[in-house]
Symmetry: C2
Subunit: 259 residues, 2 copies
């Protein structure tokens, strides 16, 4: 065995560090602030100012960033990257119509989500039929994993042994007064979700909002949110059945096989 250089000092020859640093620049544009200056980019990425500058200028050159004076902001071009994923998985053709159809029948918004790190990542979303309520999320939005029905249903699909570590580590941010803070309690809801095939959360992420989610594929879940009280107990049951029907239909279409 050749003395593989220590992984701390020596870089992996198969990884392009410059590329990774550039992606880090792109990643700091998470939308929380509409535009960033070079110094802010450098600070947020932890890179040298000159390095951040090269990364940002390269992104401008490629058309992903716009430079207005000293402010850099994203261009719509980043959407084309997402478009590649959505097209590859036939989201527009095979998934979205199904979501729309069931959402119209139920009168609620239906969301398809997958997992990205310790967040639930929204892949697609139907619009609420007559729903005046909208939470402002879009494809690409990320929700917490531990305190949303979507996230817990995703966790329920994971291997049980990997769960405890995942739950225990997180700082367990408390979003509402009703947010569960005990890791054991959260693990219990996840276990129950795995058992039942669905999960319901009540106001743990946004107060007064009840979330309900079911599994579709190994790493894909379906969910809806409704204001508490808007639908009675049987209303939730109807939504649950609707989500399960929707999930079945998506499975039949077989478009979500690869994550």
């Amino acid at each position: 065995m050749p003395p593989t250089a220590d992984s701390s000092t020596q870089q992996d020859r198969n990884i392009a560090a410059t590329f990774a640093k550039g992606m880090a620049v792109l990643e700091v544009f998470d939308g929380q602030v509409p535009a960033l200056t070079l110094s802010e980019i450098a600070r947020l990425t932890g890179q040298d100012r000159a390095t951040a500058r090269r990364g940002a200028l390269t992104l401008v050159h490629l058309g992903y960033l716009r430079q207005d004076g000293r402010h850099f902001s994203l261009t719509p071009r980043v959407l084309t990257l997402a478009g590649g994923f959505l097209r590859a998985h036939q989201i527009g053709r095979q998934v979205q119509p199904v979501l729309n159809h069931h959402a119209a029948a139920l009168g609620v918004e239906i969301t398809l989500a997958s997992r990205d790190g310790d967040h639930a990542l929204l892949l697609a979303q139907s619009t609420a039929h007559g729903g005046p309520i909208s939470y402002g999320f879009t494809p690409g939005s990320r929700l917490p994993l531990l305190h949303t029905s979507l996230g817990r249903m995703l966790l329920a699909g994971e291997a049980p042994d990997r769960l405890e570590g995942r739950i225990g580590e997180a700082p367990l941010t408390r979003f509402t007064e009703q947010s569960l803070t005990d890791p054991a309690q959260i693990a219990a809801t996840v276990a129950a979700a795995r058992q039942a095939g669905y999960v319901i959360t009540d106001g743990e992420f946004e107060p007064g909002i009840v979330g309900i989610a079911v599994a579709v594929a190994p790493h894909a879940v379906l969910g809806s949110s409704v204001p508490r009280g808007r639908d009675g107990a049987d209303g939730l049951d109807a939504i649950l059945r609707g989500l399960q029907n929707c999930a079945s239909e998506l499975r039949l279409a077989g478009a979500l096989s690869g994550l």
Copy 2:
């Protein structure tokens, strides 16, 4: 002026070539094929296989690509980049609800698009209220600029002098029998669109589909597609008025100022 090195051999010291090459790797995943091998990536990007390999492995390391044996495919993580743009421009909070509302009132699908190079780039889309039809497009999808109502309305918003060059250069691919192929004719429709504030195309991109579009902001347009004959002449008028109302409401919200 210092003798700036010739731009052909000497790289711009402010552009990170490795980063640009890596982005090129990411860009070839446009969704036309669900997965790519290293050789395909190298061929499509024109890079050396070793270079393409480093780029792809870096993307795997960062979580944007998945490697299954010899096949690389996109992960949902690319959506987070799009999410940054959508959140920065308040698409989910300020735009999507407006689109949904007007779409439900009109019974048609409404699409918000911007421009990316010589394509119209879909930013957001409402679902048709009772609409069984869906064209399989999603945010991030790209439509031709010359033969769609969205594209021509975008061109109508450009400076007139830059138009002729833009139209004349393109190979003028013919999508349907009704596609206009004469640059002068297309330029005339664009000029008419600028004059009237809206544009209607009939089956030039997809046969039997009528497209209608209006301008919202300097580089943003709104459009709908309906099957020919589904709505009579007054139906199209109603849709046009609805789109214009929708555009006004979006302008009032003022969320689309920066492209």
